[in-house]
Symmetry: C2
Amino acid sequence: MDKNLKRMATMHRMQVAGLELFYKNGYYNTSIDDILKSLSLSKGAFYYHFQSKEDFFVSIVQNLIVRKVYSMLIEPIEGKENPFPVIEKCFENALETAEHNDMDYGFILSNFISEFNRRNTVISNYLMDIYKVWEVNLITLLQKGKSDGYVDRHVDSEGVATYLISSYMGVRTLMVQGNCRNLRYKYMQQLRQYFNSLTQKEAVQ
Amino acid sequence: MDKNLKRMATMHRMQVAGLELFYKNGYYNTSIDDILKSLSLSKGAFYYHFQSKEDFFVSIVQNLIVRKVYSMLIEPIEGKENPFPVIEKCFENALETAEHNDMDYGFILSNFISEFNRRNTVISNYLMDIYKVWEVNLITLLQKGKSDGYVDRHVDSEGVATYLISSYMGVRTLMVQGNCRNLRYKYMQQLRQYFNSLTQKEAVQ
DNA sequence: TTTTTTACCGACTAAGTGGTCGGTAAAAAT
DNA sequence: ATTTTTACCGACCACTTAGTCGGTAAAAAA
């Protein structure tokens, strides 16, 4: 097991550097040499650890991108009570993180979904899997919110999840152009407006 | 002027073929040779008409992409009366067109905004210009809707425009994976829900 | 101690890449 | 009738790309 440590460490370094450059420049616009140069490693090292550029990217999706989306968008809402304030806080926090990160090139998941769409189905499927987990989590939270009386009974949980994910992906795409603070503010205000229309109205006593 | 006809015709053929391939495979993943091969033209012809790959793409943005977005998303709402049904019909129509087009690779504008973000500022700016025109048009329509009594006076037109564009971009990104019909249905339902919460409520008589 | 495995080096290959340039046939201008 | 311009051809160039392969020093196993 000890021998695996070095192996894992090098692979991890490559994956981190790889994700950074792929995210920044796009997959097709980033060469393996670019990544290796940034690490002062050689072609030999790369092809010792990974079979191909595609195999390398898949490992990045499964190790790094999954975790990023999980920790930012899935875990913060998992098993919580009242869906709307939880989602609101989660999105607000995610947008604020993006805003203060000058290395932000858009929502990593939607960027790569766009880039690989119909160009590489293997990678596309791995990415769509992450999206589906996110969607299921949102739906579950909303359903629970319905039975707990937070969400209006007539609300279509799947529809709301779709609408939430759509708007989040879209606003993250718009945020790349700058003016993030203003975009986030306007987005969050409309999100609250939307949520308000979905909230279970208490009987006036 | 007659001499220009041939020139324009060839340039236009190149632009149309170029847009098709750039949209399908991405800009960085499409070579000029790919485009030329599809037209049985030579390098000489290309560099006779265009200065560079970038110059070529800019001409595509200004000639073809602008017009696509205009005819699909801007003209249908320009100067109309009641904003909500107009926008609703416009989005529904745009999503249905995408759905029935098996050559759909996502919303052309957001795809390219993502691809060129921080990689090519010249092209990014041309793309953002189109986005801004769309945004301004939506805002104008909403403002007019307020003074005409269709839109609640407390509504933030800019915020609504941002939220609308975000959600549209996002849902178009999601639609690439298939299951478009269902996505469109769910999206439109939530859009109506959202619009409903922004509608001027008539005083109960 | 000897052998084998691990983790890496870097030269190399074949297939592209964007872009250049000398040439040319047909049309237009003179 | 001659000259010039237009619109295109395709060989070529310097460079980049993903991927291969023979080698090797150090560590681990025998």
